[in-house]
Amino acid sequence: MFKKILIANRGEIAVRIIAACREMGIATVAVYSDVDRAALHVRKSDEAYSIGPAPAAESYLRMDKILDVAKRSGAEAIHPGYGFLSENAKFAQACADAGVKFIGPTPHSMEMMGSKTRARQEMEKAGVPVVPGTSRGLVSPEEGEEVAARIGYPVMLKAAAGGGGKGMRLVHSREELRSAVESAQSEAQRSFGESEVYIEKALVNPRHIEMQVLADEHGNTVWLGERECSIQRRHQKVLEEAPSPIVDPDMRRRMGEVAVKVAQAANYTNAGTVEFLVDQQKNFYFLEMNTRVQVEHPVTELTAGLDLVHLQIRIAAGEKLLFAQSDVEMRGHAIECRIYAEDPDNNYFPSPGKITLLLEPSGPGIRRDSGMYEGWNVPMDYDPLLAKLIGYGADREQAIMRLQRALGEYFVAGIKTNISLFQRILRDADFQEGKLDTGYLDRLLAKGNQDVTSAAAEPQIEELETIAAIAAGMFAVLDPTSPGSKNADTTGQVSAPSNWKQKGRSDGLH
C-alpha cells in the first residue's frame, strides 16, 4: 500500500479523498493556489505546497508543478479527483513517466473515451447500443443532411472532443442544419482545438442515468448500480439519486452488463461511470464514459455499502477486488443535493464571498461532504460547488423526508446558496412521483417562485414578520456592538459604541 498520496484537487472532493487516506493510514499532500491557502483541504492535509496564482491554468492545471510537488514530497501516487486534470490522458502519461501512480485508468483507456466518436466506434464494435447517428466526424453539411433525413429530426450535433455543452446544437429541421454544422464546428475548434462534429438523433426529454463500474488490474470488472441524474441545469447536474425510480432489477442487470462490456472494451481499470440516455420506452443508449470518480459517487457508496475512494486506492496499489458481482447488493435509497454558491433570486448567478455563519445538519441518514467552513472566503475563481448533502433511507420516501429535515437545518450566511431550490424540488409532486427527465428542472423553475414561501410547515409570513422585527431589536439589545445594531451606519461599518450614549441609555432604563 502507498505511504503518501498527493491530491491534485481542491474543495469538497479533496477533503473527501484526504479523509479516505487518513482512514487507511496514508499520509496526504495537498496543493493549493494563492487564494486557497486557507481552504479546508489545506487545513486537513499533512503536507501542503503552493502551486501558483489563482487561475486554474496557472495552478491546478499545471502538470509540471504538481509532479514537482510529488517528487519533492515523496508522494507515490496522485489522486486527481474530478475536473481539473482528472480526465487528462497526457497527465496520466506524465505521472507514469515520472514513476508516480495515477489513481485512475490508463492513458490508453482515457484517450479512447476522451473522443466521443472514437468511443462510439468502439462501442458499436462491442455491440453496445448507441444513439442512432454517425460515429465519424461530418465531412460536409450535405452528409449531415443525408444522415438527418435517415434518422429523423430533431438531431443533435456534438463536438467529438466536447463536454459541458460546447459545440452542441439541437437542430429541428433541414433548413437550420447547414448553419448549425458550421457554427458547431467553429465553436468546437475554438473550445477544443478540434473542429470534428458528429450527428446523433436527439431524444426528446430523455432521462440521464449512469452506471458505476469498478475494475481491478487483474481483469475483474463489476457494476455497482445506477444513479439517476436527470435533474440538470445548463448541462450541470444538481440532484442525483440511487437507485433510479424507473429502473427495475432486470433493467439494472442489463444496464450493468452493458456497462461492464463498455469498460472491458476499453481495457478499463479503476472506478468509472458509463452514462446512458434513456428514452420514454426505457430503451437505453451509451452516451459516454467518465473516467474519474464522480461528484455523485456518495449515493452509490450508501446504497452499495462500499467506499469507492478506498477501493480506488486499493486498486491503484495493485490489490485484487475482494468481492464478485454476485456479492454486490443494493440496499435503501440515497439522494444527493449539490450545494452551490449561487443566488436563487438572481438566475442562479455564482455568489462567492465570506461565509459569516454556517449551521450544518447531521443526524440519522445524513451525510455531508463539505469543503467550506465558517469564516472562509469562497474564492471567485473556481466552480461554485461548496458541499454535498446526502440523505439515506430505507426507501425513497424516507430519504426525501430526512433530506427535507436536514435542509431545514442547513444555513449559510454571507453568501447565497441554492439550498432553497432543493426544498422546492423535494416537495414537488412530479419529483415525489419520480417523473423526471432532463427538462424537469427548467420546467420547475419556469413555474416561478410563488410556492417557495408557502411551505405547509412554515407559520404565516405575517406572524414571522413580527417575529423578525422583535428579533432585530433583541439582537441589538443583547449584542449592541455587532453589525446590524443601532451602531452600524449605512456604509456597513460598525462605529465604536459611544460610552456616553450607552450610559445615558442604560440610565434611562431605570
Binding site: 414578520e465 423578525a468 431589536g473 441589538a476
Partner: protein, 169 residues
C-alpha cells in the same frame, strides 16, 4: 430602548415601533404598543433563540454589504433598525427616498464592462455595470430612475462586496 423597525419580505416594507426594556426577570417588550411575552438568548454569534408565548423560533442574522437580514426558517426578512431619537437616522431615512443612491457590488468579482456613461439617464432596473465571478457575468442594475452621477467602477478591476460601483441621483 425604543426602535423603529422596518421589515420587508419581497416588495414593500412595514414599519413597527418596538420597545424593549429590561424587566426583573427577562424582558418587557411592546410591539406597536401591544405587550408581547418574549424571552431571548443569543446562543452563538448571529443566532438568536426566541421564545414567544412558548413558541420557539431560531432567528439567524446576516449582514451583506449594507443590508441586514433576519432569517426565520427559510424566509428572509430585510430589516432596518432605527433609533427614532437619533437625528442621523432621520436624515438617512430621508436620503434613502429622494437623494443619491449608491450602487454596491453584491459579491467579490471583476468589472467586465460599463453599460452606461456618467451623466446618462437611466430607468429603474437598467443595467449599469457587468461584474464577473466564477466564470459567470452579472448585470448590476440601477435601483431607481435618475441620472448616473458617478461611476467608480473600472473595467478589469477587482471589487469586493460593499464597494461602491456607481451613484444614481
Amino acid at each position: 430602548m425604543v426602535y423603529e423597525v422596518i421589515v420587508s419580505c419581497g416588495a414593500g416594507g412595514k414599519s413597527h415601533r418596538l420597545e424593549i426594556e429590561k424587566a426583573t426577570s427577562g424582558w418587557e417588550c411592546r410591539l406597536d404598543g401591544q405587550p408581547v411575552n418574549v424571552d431571548a438568548v443569543i446562543t452563538r454569534r448571529d443566532v438568536l433563540s426566541l421564545l414567544v408565548y412558548g413558541h420557539v423560533y431560531e432567528i439567524k442574522r446576516e449582514q451583506i454589504a449594507t443590508d441586514l437580514h433576519m432569517w426565520a426558517g427559510t424566509t428572509c426578512f430585510a430589516v432596518e433598525l432605527r433609533d427614532p431619537r437619533s437625528l442621523r437616522s432621520r436624515n438617512l431615512a430621508a436620503g434613502d427616498e429622494k437623494g443619491p443612491r449608491k450602487i454596491f457590488a453584491p459579491m467579490p468579482g471583476r468589472i467586465v464592462r460599463l453599460l452606461v456613461a456618467e451623466n446618462s439617464d437611466v430607468e429603474a432596473g437598467q443595467g449599469i455595470v457587468v461584474v464577473e465571478a466564477m466564470k459567470m457575468q452579472n448585470e448590476i442594475k440601477s435601483p431607481k430612475k435618475g441620472i448616473v452621477k458617478r461611476i467608480s467602477a473600472t473595467p478589469g478591476a477587482a471589487v469586493n462586496p460593499g464597494d461602491v460601483l456607481a451613484i444614481v441621483e
